[in-house]
Each structure stands twice: as C-alpha cells, then as structure tokens.
Symmetry: C2
C-alpha cells in the first residue's frame, strides 16, 4: 500500500470536493438523501471504502448528516461558504448543549496563540490538500518504514505478551542504553539513567518548562520560533521574550545579555542551536559556549531542542550545547519524530539538575511511553540501522534543497528572499513586504497547497510577509509546478497591493 | 517467550542479588575487576544475556561501574546496605555535577506526594520481586495479546508507510468512531469529534484539570483515592479536598454539599463512580444523578475517571455519570490500559464544554498518540473483539476475587477487614490499627512480595494501616502462599506492637 495510500486519500478528497460542489449547486438539496455508499461507488467507479471515507469526511465538516439506519443526507442548514457553516454548527451545538463539530479550518484563527497549532493541523485533517507543505515532516518514503515494520513484526511474534504488561519507569532500559550510546557519537556523555523517554519532544519541552518555571515567569525564545513552543508557553502561563536570530549567529547574545540584566522573572532560555526551526541555521560553536556561560552566570536553565540536529545537509553532525554542560544546566530534548519515525511519537530528555523533578512531572502527565515503539527503536539502534538511514536522508535533503530554492527564485516575485538552510527541511521565505502570507495561504489552500505562514512564528506580526515551505520530498515536475502556482499567487497579491496603493 | 520472560527476569535479578551479597562479604573488593560476561555466564550456567542484564542492573544501582574497554568493576565506594549506597551515589554525582544514578527504592519516600508514584513504580524496576501485587494491572495472560499482535502485524504488513506519517489532530478518525459506538453501548451519546485520544487516562485527567483549574484552586477528590491523582494535583499546584467514600454510597454527598457551600476556589470534582480505586465500589445511580446536579448548581466541572467501568465482576456494566450529562459539565475519561492493552498507553476524553480548551492543551503537551496502537485498537473494536474478551476477563475476576478474600481472612491476623470489590482487581484491606502497612511492605519486599500501602491513598496518614492488594491473576497455591506470608508478617508486626505497648 506504500503508493496507494496517497492515491486513495486523494481520491476520497476529490470525491468529497465534487460532492460539495454538487451540494452548493443544489444538485442535492438540504435534507435530501444522498446516494447509498454502493450506488455512489458504482456510479463513480471508486471503491466502497473511498465513498465511506468521503462521507465521513463530509460528516465531520457538517456538510452531510448520517441518519440512523436510513443513510446519508445533505445537512439541513446547508453551509453556503465557510462562515455560515460554522455558525450553523455552533447554533446546533448550542441548542442541544453539545460542543460543535469541528468546523472547516478558519485560517484567521492561525493567528490565535491558543489555537495556532490546532488550526495548522486542521489543515491536514479537514482540508483537501494535494501539497501539504505546512508541517515538519519528510515524505513517508524517506523513512525506513519497511525496516521498522519488520522489527515490529518480529517483536510482536516473539513477545506478544509484552502488550499485556504495564510500561513503568522512565523508559525501556534497552532503549535508554542505545540512546546514550548514539548520543555519545556527537559529544554527549550521558548515562542511560540520566535519560527519560517521552511522548515526542513536545512532552520533553513541556515537562522541562514546568520543571523550571511557574505561571507568570518569563522564558527567552528565538525569533522567529517554532509556533508549537509559543502555544505551549501560552498554555503554561509563561511569558515569551522573543530575541531575534540571524542565520550566521543564531540568537543574538548581546540582546540576551541585555534582557537578562534588565528583565525580572526570566527562568529559562529555550533554543534550537542546530538547524533552527524555521531558519535552518546552526549557532557557531563559540556562541554555544558563550550562551552556556550566560545561562550559568544568571542561574537559569537552558532548554535545548535538538530534534533537527541529525538532519544536517552535510555529513557533519553539529554538537549540542549539552556537550559542554558540566553543571547540569542544560535540559537536552531529542526525538525520533523528525529523523526516523514520525508515527512513533517518541522523544527523550536529559534533565540535568532538574531530572528528578521532570521524572515526577512526566509520570503524572502521561505515565510511560508505549512498549512497542520503544522496543523497535532500541532494536533499530542496536542493529546499526540509524547511521545508513541518516546518510541517505541527508543526501536527499542536500539534493532537494537547492532545487527548491532555485525554483522559488524563478517563480516568486522579485524581492522575495530565500533563506537556504544548512539542515532540516524547510525554506524560510521573505516575501515582498506588501504580500501578506496569510492571504497567500487562503488562495493557496483553494489550489490544494498549504505552507506555514510566518505570522505563526512570533506573537507579533513581524513575520506577516514570511512563510515556511517544507520541501523534504522528491523533487518532481509536479512539485515545481506547485511552487510556480504559489509564486504566481504571491505575484498577484503584490500586484493587487500595488494597484490599491496607487488608487489610494 | 510468554513464560520465559518472567523466568529470565527472575534469574538476572537472582544473579544480581548473589553478586551484591558477594560484594558485601568482600569476595569482590571495592575497585576490583569483576568476571567478564562470558566467564560469569559459564561459571553460573546462565546465558550471556542474563549476565549483561545483571551487570546493567547493578550499574544502575551504583553497585558496579563499567570502565571503557576494560570491563566491570566493583564501585570504588562500596555501598554497605541501602543508605550508604545512596549517599555514595549522591557524593559521586555531586563531585562531577551529574544527577545521581537511581538509588534502590526508598520505601519511606512513598509517603512523599511528589515521589509516591515514582517510588511505587521503582518497586517494579529496581527491586527483585516474585509477587508484584502493587500495580493496577492484570496478569499479561489475561489480555488478548495474541489477537492484538496479529492485528498489528497485519497492519504493519499492509501499511508500513504509515510509520512515516505524522499523526495529527485529536486521534485517528476510525478509532474515534469505534470508541463512540462502543460507549453508546453503555449510555454515552457522543459523536466521534467530541472525543480525543490521549496518552492513557493519565494525560486525559491531566489535561482536564489544566482546562478547568489554575494553580492555587481546589479540587474535590474521593478518599481513599488513586495516589497518581494526588501526585498530579500536587504537581499542578492544585489543592486536594479529600471527601470520605463508603462502599455503599461512594463519595459522601452531604459532605460535598457542605464543602461546596463553605470552601472557596473549588473548580472541579474528580470521581471514579464505577469500581473506585482502591475501594472497588460503584456509586448508586441516584447518587450519580445527585452528584451531577450539585456540580451544575455550583458551576463546577465533574471529571469522571471511568477506567475500571468495563471490569465489573458481573455482566452488568454500570453507566457513567456522563450518561446523564445534558450541559457538557462532565469531562469523561477512559482508557484501554486496564481492560485491554496496558502497553498501548491509549486513553480518551470527552471534554464537554471544555473540549476545545483540552484539545489545545493536549496538543501542546504531547501532540498526538502513536499511529499503530490507535489503528490496532480501532480494528479490534471494529471486528468485535472487545465484548468476548471482557466477558472472559470478568469471569476470571469473579472467580479469583472471593478466593483471594477468603485467603486473606484465613491468613491475616484477627481484626483484619477485607473490602471485596464489585469490579476491578483489588482487595482493600484494613489491618488491625497497630499494624503499619509501610512497615509490612518493608518486610514483604524482603520476601519478594509487594503491595500498595494505604498511606499512598491520601495526603493524610488516615490509611496507614490499610493496604491494596492486586489479585488479578490466576489463583494458585503459590499465590495463596504469598498471601499467607503477608498475613504472617502482619501477625508478627501486630504481636511486636502489642509487646511494645505492654512493656511501655
């Protein structure tokens, strides 16, 4: 099914789009019964499964309604466009005191600090997209999924009884040993018991922040910065102080020094020194050391998010700040979600002097990670699978990135600047000032293309004309075409803005 | 490996115990090199793997130290008994600014609110136990692990590429649909989009509490109550108000009314109305309704933990309070960890009016649950596997429970009271007042038996002479013997206490 899955997904979404058009054109009226699953499958020449998925999708959007034992109907209050659909769902929900069914993505809510992640992910689940270039993932084919699946099958065959045991403690001992050995390869001197396994780096960061800061405290972050971190800080009641980053230096350390001397209540600095999201740069080693000294002087925690560290476009794997940490000041967070197996949801943390506190918090946040993924990852590491996989992945990234950057230069309006990364899988684009990236996203989603608008990467509107474009997939004519469509839409917006400013 | 795994585990721990004895008796002096893995394996007639696990275990305890390329050595500062071992490890850690390696379980720390879970789980990972009757699990053989493993293997064979996709959103749509259908069977009228998939009920509870309360607020809980909830409240800065429960009525509702009228800052009531942990009782339906009315009147959230609801000892599955909730006041939390697959770490929540807030918090706490477990659970539900499994599990519980209760009556000192549960898998024992359950645990662990001392189930010392005994395993002569040993140790403590009070 390696190839079929994307085809399948596409075809149910295509069918859903077609049905929405038919409904909008009143081919099916509100309240009218829709064709049965079998009838529609036969009529469209698609599988029953495709129709079922299509109907479920439309049901989730509130476009159709299932009635018990009688089939599928066009929703009574037909959503004419997006806003009324939401209002309708909310009204229905209010009438019977239920939460509303999920509305179609409201792009404006991407700006909301509390909902930016929710809405960005909703792009994936609620929107028919051909090119979802908005997330932090590579093409599924770029992961060693077959090898991982084989290991998993072997473990399930030989130890099925493990599914009936309760995972306890801070992670499978075998995994922690393998991780410690792996990390030793890039300068981290950690014992297995200094590591805990978490639900992705998200949980690692969350628990780290809770261990070192309390609601009302401040945390220094990079700017632009991973939007998930901003939503997390908001949800924890922590104040984000955003310090500008440059591709050559990383977080500005003079600015940091100033802030640490003048701001009160700062408890931690969160950084991604290797292949920063979204800039893709790496902080020079001298800056990493200086950052560590600053943190020590000011009695702070340094929370280091190193999830992209393995994704260098060269064979050189940069060291994390943790490599120089002698006083347990650095909380190191890693993950297998970027480099190896997104669906595993496994991360890890070495909490330094806050490790015991983090273990307690982690235990009462989610207890333990599932057994199987931990065991598979341990075995994959033990049998030496990671190194050759990463070599291939890095080569692919090194091939695709310049091509994508060239395509952007070719197709985007003059004045667009491309930040080419040294690692990771994005381009960070600065559009001409007049082009609002959120407006561009609205148009692009209509064409089945999504990216991450810059406004997500700050609590300010500073990056409103920036965007992040995930290009970690094989470079094809179709992808070039998608970049061209984006460029043309951006050009159109720039033109419209120019015309508007002239007419004013 | 179904049987071998426990045998294996036992034998490496036996070897570790033997080595510790040898070290204590100076057969190996501090700093001395220990036999190589192969030599020790040959000498002891065990596998190389057993020796490796034994050495890793001792290394984690700080008893031995690995030296690069040179083998395993007795730790320089030899731990003579438990306390010095800890002091030594801490001293070493301090010297090089590293966190200490995990010490052997310090039973006294079970009383600490922040560490009670950590320490209880440490019993499993750091202590050689023959009868670990201290956790909330059934015997692995009582779960349909073979069926689940088969489904997982099938999915991995047909869709390995799913391991390369990023799970987003609030859970696999197929799983949410199946869960909604399953819950409809016991009175819950929920749409799939009103459910979110979580990392066990632990995450569901955590996110629910964060959605409805802020640090400094108060939350009403049952007494005795699941210790994990107390640690969670402590970690969230929430104040627990413990209201006594009786087996016949559940949480005392007069007391609740009084508290709600007189205490300020109460934001939620957390209850386990079906087969409460540790009492095992079910709240009568009229009380469930009255509890819901009270919560409505006082504008609170009711957080309902229903993880044991499926584990009735009769075919009757009691309804959760959520079944009567018309105003979205009840946050319903469920899990597959108790009834089906502990190693999956999957739970779910229906957050009512707080659902959107919970989704945002969940996303920035751990993003999403892993794909495979969600897909397996959905398929197991879809193919009707749950009902027959639960029937068998309930029968087994109904058979074991009275036998275990009889054995306690037979072997424990006079004055011991057994609370026999209507569901779930524990006995809750009230020992004679003079017997301290923590002292009993200390003796029992020496005999390879663990249980949960009552002191964990409250922030007060109210249940110091109570204990919870997990009896969800086949009733055998050996298990009866373990109960007998416990009873004799309890008798010995009672006798000693009596002698002490006479001599005073």
């Amino acid at each position: 099914m390696a190839k079929n899955s994307s085809v399948l997904q596409h075809s149910y979404l295509q069918l859903a789009q077609q049905l929405r058009r038919d409904i909008a054109r009143r081919r099916y009226a509100p309240g009218e019964r829709l064709p049965s699953v079998r009838a529609l499958a036969a009529a469209q020449g698609v599988s029953v499964d495709t129709v079922v998925r299509c109907y479920r999708h439309l049901e989730a959007l509130g476009v159709v309604q299932a009635r018990h034992k009688s089939g599928m109907y066009v929703a009574e209050l037909e959503p004419a466009g997006r806003a009324p659909a939401v209002a309708t769902a909310a009204a229905v929900a209010k009438a019977d005191n239920r939460p509303a069914p999920p509305p179609p993505v409201e792009l404006d809510r991407l700006v909301s600090l509390e909902h930016r992640m929710t809405q960005l992910y909703a792009l994936t689940t609620q929107q028919p997209l051909q090119w979802g270039l908005h997330l932090a993932n590579a093409a599924p084919a770029w992961y060693p999924t077959a090898a991982l699946a084989r290991i998993a099958q072997r473990l399930l065959r030989s130890q099925p009884e493990m599914l009936g045991t309760y995972p306890t403690g801070s992670g499978l001992p075998a995994l922690r040993s393998q991780l410690a050995a792996w990390m030793a390869g890039y300068g981290l001197d950690l014992q297995p018991q200094e590591l805990m396994v978490t639900h992705g780096s998200t949980e690692a960061l969350n628990v780290a922040l809770r261990a070192v800061a309390r609601p009302g405290d401040a945390v220094v972050v990079e700017s632009p910065v991973y939007f998930g971190l901003l939503q997390m800080l908001g949800n924890l009641g922590l104040r984000a102080i955003e310090l500008p980053c440059t591709p050559s230096e990383g977080m500005g350390l003079e600015a940091l020094e100033y802030v640490l001397e003048h701001e009160s209540g700062v408890r931690a600095v969160v950084v991604m020194p290797n292949f920063q999201n979204p800039l893709g740069h790496t902080m020079p080693e001298r800056n990493k050391r200086r950052l560590l000294r600053l943190v020590e002087q000011h009695d702070l925690a340094l929370i280091e998010d190193d999830v992209f560290g393995d994704l260098s476009h060269t064979p050189h794997r940069p060291q994390p700040v943790k490599a120089w940490d002698r006083h347990g000041r650095v909380i190191y967070c890693g993950s297998s979600s970027k480099s190896l197996a997104p669906a595993f949801r496994l991360g890890w943390a070495a909490g330094g002097r806050w490790h015991a506190r983090m273990e307690s918090l982690k235990l009462s946040t989610s207890l333990a990670a599932p057994w199987l993924e931990q065991a598979v990852l341990a075995e994959f590491l033990r049998t030496g699978g990671l190194q050759p996989h990463l070599r291939k992945l890095r080569e692919r990234l090194a091939q695709t990135t310049p091509r994508a950057a060239e395509a952007v230069q070719r197709h985007f309006p003059a004045g667009t600047r491309v930040h080419s990364p040294a690692g990771g899988w994005w381009l960070w684009l600065e559009l001409p000032q007049a082009v609002d990236a959120l407006a561009l996203l609205r148009l692009a989603v209509g064409q089945g293309i999504a990216f991450t608008p810059g406004v997500l990467f700050s609590t300010t509107a500073k990056y409103a004309h920036y965007l992040r474009l995930n290009i970690a997939r094989p470079w094809t004519r179709e992808l070039e075409q998608a970049v061209r469509v984006l460029g043309q839409l951006a050009g159109g917006l720039q033109h419209a803005a120019g015309a508007a400013s002239i007419s004013r």
